[in-house]
Amino acid sequence: MPKDSGIGASSKRREDVRFLTGTGNYTDDINIYGQLHVHFLRADVAHAVLNGVDTSAAEGMPGVQRIFTGADFEAVGSIPCGWLITDRHGDPMQEPRHPVLAHGKIRHVGEPICAVVADTLAQARDAAEAIVLDYDALPAVIDMKDAIGADAPKVHDDLTGNLCYDWGFVEENRQAVDDAIKGAAHVTTLELVNNRLIANPMEPRVAVGEYNRADDFHTLHTTSQNPHVIRLLMGAFVLGIPEHKLRVVAPDVGGGFGTKIFHYQEEAFVTFAAKALNRPVKWTSTRSEAFMSDAHGRDHVTKIELALDAENNFVAVRTETYANMGAYLSTFASCTPTWLHGTLMAGNYKTPHIYVNVKAVFTNTVPVDAYRGAGRPEATFQLERVIDMAAHELGVDPIALRRQNFITEFPYATPVAVEYDTGDYHATMDKLIDIADFAGFDARRAESEAKGKLRGLGVNCYIEACGIAPSNLVGQLGARAGLYDAATVRVNATGSISVMVGAHSHGQGHETSFPQVISEMIGIPEDQIDIVHGDTSKIPFGMGTYGSRSLAVCGSAMVRAAEKVINKAKKIAAHLMEASEGDIELKDGRFSVAGTDKSVAWGDVTLAAYVPHNYPLTDIEPGLEETAFYDPANFTYPSGAYSCEVELDPETGHVKIERFCAADDFGNIINPMIVSGQVHGGIAQGIGQAMMEGCAYDSDGQLLSASYMDYAMPRAGDVPFYTVDHSCQTPCTHNPLGVKGCGEAGAIGSPPSLVNAVLDAINSGPGKKVAHINMPLTPSRVWAAMQ
């Protein structure tokens, strides 16, 4: 029997009531009395010396309050990068200054140059058109390999070149890897592009700055996945505002996908300008601005070599990757292609020797940073593609080749510095074969062929590292923040509970799933429990939501805080029942004395805590509220096996996705429906990356895919009905819920099977054999590859 509440129940998402009835409160819904509007004049050239900005004609235009330029921000800090990478030679990465408004130089199309603050948005836009920029265009550097060539123009004149860092991982393994590859029976080499993406959350970014002169207090309302991170970065590094004078609020947020983790110039600007003008200042990104100012994702160019011995055991993996940083280092740009990518290169396999080299490169493009999966999709894609390619070269079954090399014993320490605690890769593969009906594939292929179509089946495995992460470890690796999370469980007098959490929900359903955990622990109905998030003045200092960490890290903090509450409540109950604390049991919302029929209800105990008339005041404090901070002992390692079946029209190159199946191991599961939804959404984004989405620049640095006319997002009709299964469960061994995280799996796990399936379809036909096609596999690319 499925449960109808608590852990394991598919409780309906309570937040959807407001989202689906138009009663959400998004940042753009926030309008403060007296607010002004800012319009940013953005660069339309990719690279130029900015000699000057003439705002004189614009200053006097109707409604204009003030026009800000880069000069106004000279005394203000640089937009910071949150992670210092140390390169192969022990040197720190090159870290350029990232100004709030361009000053002296323009470095990418879309970079803000001037900010016009006016009474209305239309007035601000009108005035921006009267600003005259004096600049000398420079040649742009767009291609990464060109950018690190000897004569390449420099994106940042004060750096030694466009190479941000040259990272080797694990540098000490390099010789052993080279030797293993030299001595291998077979080496498969694949060069590929992991395509650049634009996240496109449904809600564009918005920021509203507010300042109270009387108490010198700043408030920033912003579309963020992590309000405390923004308060830390903007307060400490950019504007110099102490924490107690700065509140950051991220109310309902309409999708983040990573691109709303980062601290952006517009947030710093509205906070700064609200004080300068003593008026609230609001900015709402247009969709066009979003395309050229939200951090982009992926954009790797990789060469991977997989070496096998004569028995087809993997003996070594060596990779060389160029990772695009764009023009500046966004908040987590430096760690995405390194620690979130290199550490995953073992995948599900017991390859003994692995070496990863990553060259991060500055170009005249929008900054690139984490996007759903962040580094792990890039790792999974190259590994799972090269394995498929090796299977074809060797004439062996791609599933058998994978199985032969699976890690089967846990814990398992990889040669790339992480230790997988649990997993069962054969179990998820067995499950996949079952749910995907591989047995019926040949018949389905024959049906397709009868219609003049080609049918292909693609499979892959994935492993990911979620729940970032032990703070002492990430500190050693260069993180400039801790990565714990925090929760406060506040029990009210009548027994209802508010839980203040550091995690931020922007689509994940925390408001539903987190109460399920508390409900399970205490035995009171879920509707007695509410989650409070997204406001630094209400919640403890947690690090927010990304990297599938909310439940594994913040959920663990919540469990710890709830345990403290329960322990205290037991003491109170013992007092009320005149029993010994050790005999008190809590079940279904009642405390009872073991072995007796004495009991008191949860609400009686919570009332006693706040109306402590009959209460052990000398031993314990009144009230019932506890906070816990939780710092994880390790990452969590969800894993799974995915398959995809496609039908290809050889005349046009059009691919129809007929089936997509996912067998995941997420450890224990709180709400199966929400987990399925997360997997569905992730796969949809994987389908977007593999089949449709491609950010493109021309050689001058103009963004060609600058609107939905040219940037293809998947729509309902582009994706199949999914079959997802998460019944294979090897619980995480080191967090109290045994949970692993499911938010990114779909996006990480799906692109290789899609590409593998299309190649299988092509190569099943009578025509030319094709070894690889770079994503996105648009009809024109597929057709061209077949000619």
């Binding site: 239309a122 836009r125 009108d126 066009s288 005349e651 046009t652 190159g653 059009h654 449709m692 491609g694 493109a696 060609l704 895919s705 939905y708 006319m709 040219d710 940037y711 293809a712 997002m713 648009t778 009809p779 024109s780 057709w783 061209a784």
Partner: protein, 261 residues
């Protein structure tokens, strides 16, 4: 958007007067409004054609032609042009439900986007475009990308479509915009076959005369074997190069012949 005035006349005469007075026609707004939002146009006055009953509706004239008034929305054509199923099917596949509920045939033809659907239907049908000043044959109307025979302020009142014996519109979508990457309208009349292609050429919609001749002699997909499309005038962009578009012209034309009803 820049500030503008708007008039909402209820008669064609009032609309003509307002347009003669310097106004610009606003029909479904599915092209014009995004243009205004991006500040790519700055009209002083818009004249809405939305409330003019004379500009809406579908009828059949004495010559059996399907006549569609200029401000008739795509959805009405999809639902109402049952006398010309291929044309109704074309209208049913423009954009999405929101676009079809607002966008109009007159707006589409006045705009003449090189990737729009209606121009292919109009040209392949040999339709007549009736304006407030004259009648223009389809063959004389389309002058290139976003360019038509319309004069300044000239209003499309109606489009008259001769109904072919069989016809079909085959649309291969550009994955992002969902406009045609290449779409082919084939119409077979008693006196010959007309083939019009949109999406493919930088010059906008055009007739594929070599295919027309072959199909007039032998209306089968095989008749198109060996008839090569010249790729030089084709559009090359993120979504397909010239060779791909030229290839799709032939594939879509064959499918249109095969599926013509």
């Amino acid at each position: 958007m820049y500030a503008f005035e708007i008039e909402r006349p209820t008669t064609l005469d009032a609309a003509k007067a307002a347009i003669a007075d310097g106004g610009q026609a606003l029909s479904g707004g599915q092209t014009l409004i995004p243009t205004l939002k991006a500040r790519l146009a700055d009209p002083e006055k818009l004249v809405s054609l939305h409330n003019i009953p004379e500009l809406k509706g579908i009828s059949t004239d004495g010559d059996g032609r399907i006549c569609i008034k200029g401000a008739t929305v795509h959805r009405a054509v999809a639902d109402g042009a049952s006398g010309y199923p291929a044309l109704a099917s074309l209208a049913a596949r423009i954009g999405d439900p929101a676009v079809r509920t607002r966008g109009t045939i007159g707006g589409s033809l006045a705009n003449n986007d090189p990737s729009a659907c209606y121009p292919a239907g109009v040209l392949a049908s040999g339709a007549v475009i009736v304006t407030d000043r004259r009648e223009i044959a389809a063959d004389d109307y389309f002058l290139g990308m976003f360019d038509t025979a319309l004069d300044e302020g000239e209003i499309i009142i109606e489009v008259k479509f001769p109904v072919p014996q069989v016809a079909c519109y085959e649309k291969f979508i550009q994955p992002a915009s969902r406009f045609p990457l290449v779409a082919v309208f084939v119409a077979k009349f008693a006196d010959g076959v007309r083939v019009a292609i949109t999406g493919a050429s930088g010059e906008g919609v055009f007739r594929w005369t070599a295919a027309e001749e072959a199909l007039s002699a032998n209306f089968t997909p095989e008749a198109l074997d060996g008839i090569a499309m010249d790729s030089s005038p084709m559009i090359a962009d993120l979504h397909g190069d010239k060779a791909y578009r030229a290839h799709l012209c032939s594939v879509m034309a064959k499918r249109a012949v095969k599926n013509a009803k």
